[in-house]
Amino acid sequence: MIEIVAVSTGLSEDSATSRLADRMLRSAEDALARRGEEATTTHINVRHLAKALVDLTVSGFPAPELDEAFAAVKRASAVITVAPVYKAAPAGIHTLFWQLVDDASLAGTPVLLGTTGGTPRHSLAAESTLRPMIAYLKGYALPTSVFAATDDWGSGEQAGLDRRITQAADELAELALALNPNAAGSSSDAAPGGAEDPAPEAAAGSAAVSPEPAADSDAPAAPGVPYAGPARESGRSAITPNGLGERAREERTRDEFDPDSVTPFSVLLGG
């Protein structure tokens, strides 16, 4: 089971941004289903958190609904984030959301970027603003981002937008599965964490051979899918040590106030 969380900033009742985020979310679900994997989805609309985000910024007061949203992001195996673009930059409350989550909240998480705007001249906002933010939060921003301008919702361009969404969703599904080999119900042999796992360093630099993800063995071959990532075709990946996503998620959702796992004071003292 892969949990996909969409964080979008739809500012009107029927906003193009919310619509795009919904389609990307559905497309990601389909892409996972084609690979034999189920998904759960959560869609967070930043609009409903606008006041809580500003309150936290100016007064440090953490509203409970904001804590819930941040926890959902930390729990996610895959994230989709979609913003409307104003003046060539994503709307401020959207970037504020990502500025207020904890550092490393996206460690080991594939992230699909989407933006909407009135004209194609806004199309680089995701690249120039969102992509570096996701990198700062240690997420894997996928190579394909989706930009939808007014033109794209017209009949002529619709097909091109659909293709881009499908391609981006496939990238998301591939990377989410490579990072979370134990997500599939059928796989139980590769334990996350543990001393036997290859050290992440071993995989850096060159394309290290990962253990065959069990999820691959019985997944359908996804015929007709325009993109199939390197992890699936070769069982190799230069950037995704097997199970990294699961280990990272475990780490970032760890309860730091759990008396059984707190760092003993002698360790702090010994420095």
Partner: protein, 393 residues
């Protein structure tokens, strides 16, 4: 159970009439407030430590506390907080020892790290080292109050050779220490390790969060063998504004809330009162809310209220303290005393600490031999030895 007030010494314009006290007026008002707290039957007055406007809480709290000590008889003097990160532990040791003598032992401290970025470099420190500073500096302070002719070397201050704190603590017993932290598990762990108290200033936080921090401290206190988890020393913050007519309380307090330093111009009064301990209403509402703290914090030792802030005029602050002392605290004392197990300690006084030390029952940092913590540590050391032995073979 102790009840008291804590002050951050903010100099804030009264939003209802635009007047701002001078620093001198605010400082004198703080002394008046502390004396009034004793007269109203409260148990504790605690001051913050500040180095930047708009605050005139003292840069060295013993200066203020010594002045109050000279004008009071009974009230316990404390801090909220003493900055353990940017204040030289040697000066903390000596200044508070001196205060202990002047105040006949009516002194304890709450350690805090401070979250004002620029303060650190002003004192040659780095905020990114906040936790390591709190760890090393407190360890030194702890030893300074207990070891004469101390030889010491660390990362953050010049080494000490054969150093003895002057004056030596009153009756040879260090003041009780609380460790304050809002969200750092390391500090709850630190408090538990030494068998010290843990103070959570929860005034901006939902109780669900505070409960987890308190639970962490209590469980680790037991782990280190200082007593049962429910016997650990817990202090909590609080914030109230009262009027016999609860709607009038809201009307009077709202402009101060809306313009307050720290949380003003942010969440609404209604959101804030729903999510944090701030209670604006009748004394009865305050009693009901705070009596309920026991349900998630357990039986605890100290409850401090923030009363003098956000530009509230002195006259109002004194009236609020009267309501607290006359109508709220007596009822809360009854509520908290009911069904409180006899072996839950009160907040430590100097006399109690002296008796504990003479009985040989002072906590051993990290746990005495025979405790689980001690055995775990021996096992870890043994494992490390074996690892080293096998790697050298």
């Amino acid at each position: 159970m102790e009840f008291g007030i804590f002050s951050i010494g903010d100099v804030t314009t009264d939003p209802t009439n635009g007047t701002t006290p001078t620093e001198g007026e605010r400082i004198k008002a703080t002394v008046t407030i502390a004396k009034h707290a004793e007269a109203a039957g409260l148990d504790v007055f605690a001051t913050g430590q500040h180095h930047n406007p708009p605050f005139v809480a003292p840069a060295n709290p013993p200066v203020l506390l010594a002045n109050i000590a000279a004008q009071t008889e009974r009230i316990q003097l404390s801090t909220a907080t003493t900055l353990i990160t940017t204040t030289d532990p040697v000066r903390i040791a000596e200044d508070y020892s001196y205060l202990q003598h002047l105040a006949d032992g009516r002194v304890d401290l709450t350690m805090g790290r401070g979250n004002t970025g620029p303060v650190y470099p002003w004192f040659g420190k780095d905020i990114r080292s906040g936790i390591p500073l709190a760890v090393e500096n407190y360890n030194l302070l702890y030893r300074l109050w207990r070891e004469k002719n101390l030889d010491w070397e660390g990362n953050f201050r010049t080494p000490l050779n054969s150093f003895t704190v002057t004056p030596w603590p009153l009756d040879g017993v260090a003041p009780f220490v609380w460790h304050g932290s809002i969200r750092s598990p390391e500090i709850a762990e630190q408090a538990a390790y030494y068998g010290d108290g843990f103070f959570h200033n929860n005034i901006f936080w939902p109780t669900s969060h505070t409960a987890r921090m308190v639970n962490l401290y209590r469980q680790r206190y037991e782990y280190y063998g200082h007593g049962r988890a429910d016997q650990a020393f817990v202090g909590l913050g609080g914030q109230v504004y009262m009027h016999r007519d609860s709607q009038q309380a809201v009307r009077e307090f709202r402009p101060y809330f809306d313009n307050a330093p720290v949380y003003g111009h942010g969440p609404s009064l209604e959101d804030f009162t729903a999510q944090t301990p701030l209670t604006v209403g009748s004394p009865q509402q305050v009693i009901e809310r705070y009596a309920g703290f026991r349900e998630w914090a357990g039986d605890y030792q100290r409850q401090l209220f923030l009363m003098d802030h956000a530009g509230l005029p002195l006259k109002t602050v004194l009236e609020q303290i009267d309501i607290l002392g006359e109508q709220v605290v007596p009822e809360l004392r009854k509520e908290f005393a009911a069904n409180r197990p006899a072996d839950i300690p009160e907040a430590p006084t100097h006399e109690w600490l002296v008796a504990r030390q003479r009985a040989g029952e002072a906590p051993v940092p990290g746990g005495a031999p025979g405790t689980r913590a001690h055995e775990d540590r021996l096992a870890a050391e043994e494992e490390a030895r074996q690892k080293q032995a096998s790697s050298t073979n």
